[in-house]
Symmetry: C2
Subunit: 243 residues, 2 copies
């Protein structure tokens, strides 16, 4: 009898999954952007436009569907809010307190994402009543979302010091000052201009362009691009990025 059943149903029967509890699985995204004008690191939050907790701020989220894995779910959620594909994104961890969502048992997987702030689709952001907040001005969020945000900031600080992910937050062309201010915003401390430049140049993964950015000064400052090919090549040879 047993041997006539397809494998899947045998396993189900034997392991007794039916007796186990199921839960909803959510994905919540901490979306970072760097505002070049204000020289501030920001995160994108959505405002709930329905009861209950209407008007409260929250991370953008969604539920895991049958036909996708978590990375796909997170990418989908990010697309819904920003209109962007191929965003840099990393899983942060799981938040599973029993009553974290009072509506129903929901386990949430937090992701953080880095986007170039000027790329996002403003209409889609407006449609979700979303808004950018400075790290120092994050409001109270629903559920355990503040915990997620703090965890994301910590992770970003670590990751940015050990992998060149900072460039995900900058436009294609940027100045040394932009880069330094970005790292200052991430690490939340001031850096010495001479030492920073020296270190970045020593890494030898930027291309100095012939163009200057005249926005910020009369003299103008040289623009750079991140040489991803060169970085990948070097990394394959054992080079480790460290700031």
């Amino acid at each position: 009898m047993l041997s006539e059943q397809p494998i899947q149903s045998i396993r189900k029967t034997i392991q007794g999954y039916e007796k186990e509890d199921k839960a909803y699985i959510a994905v919540d995204c901490i979306i970072f952007g760097f505002d070049l004008n204000e020289e501030e690191l920001k995160i994108l939050l959505v405002q709930r436009d329905f009861e209950p907790q209407k008007g409260e701020w929250s991370l953008m989220g969604g539920f895991l569907k049958k036909d996708e894995n978590l990375d796909e779910a997170a990418a989908r959620v990010l697309y819904q809010l920003t209109g962007l594909y191929d965003i840099y994104m990393e899983q942060l961890g799981v938040f599973s307190e029993i009553d974290r969502d009072p509506a129903d048992r929901t386990v949430s997987i937090a992701y953080y994402a880095l986007i170039n702030i000027i790329d996002h689709n403003q209409e889609m952001v407006d449609h979700h009543s979303a808004q950018w907040f400075n790290l120092s001005e994050i409001p109270r969020l629903i559920f355990d979302h503040n915990k997620m945000v703090n965890s994301a900031i910590q992770r970003l600080q670590y990751k940015a010091s050990v992998q060149p992910i900072g460039f995900e937050l900058l436009p294609e062309k940027f100045t040394m000052r932009h880069l330094q201010k970005l790292y200052e915003a991430i690490l939340q401390r001031e850096l010495d201009k001479r030492n920073f430049t020296k270190k970045i140049n020593a890494l030898d993964i930027l291309i100095k362009l012939d163009e200057k950015d005249k926005e910020s000064s009369k003299k103008g400052s040289f623009l750079y691009t991140f040489d991803k090919e060169k970085y990948l090549q070097k990394r394959a040879e054992g080079f480790v990025f460290k700031i």
Copy 2:
């Protein structure tokens, strides 16, 4: 009508959780132990004693229950196999490929744990047909468990270099040689005895005992204990552990 309902059911109705998919949530544990005699780092695997995949090796696991969070579930699973409470344990990440478990959609959260190998309850281990494997001799495991193991080894290497978690793997009293061999096993490279001793002593978080361990040599080597209080004190003052 709506306003008469309790909050929870309002939220459920509005958010439409019912339309979302649920999934089973599993916890799988990578249990590390350090064999002092063989000077080898090992992990504890269980052998499935039921069909299908009978005889195949697997991580110890279980399902998340309604009335516990993931840390509690992992602690429960660890207790079931080792008889130990209060084990050092950390969440690794989520594994969510759609068909990772062919029986049913199951998202698994991997945890790694560090135990003192001589503390565990041998009867409980035998009862689960569990066995210790050297890191270099890990067999093929079911599902995506090999991926989890690799991820755990990487995480352990990082974490051990940045937090004094190595002591979780050693008995109360240990020699410098034990400690060095442990770090060599974790980092998978040889360390210089003089530099290692110097570094550890400079950290100033061990207590040198008057006792000697005569097992390993005629001369005997001094025993040490980890001074957790002192470490916590120093950490509170900004000290950072680094090996």
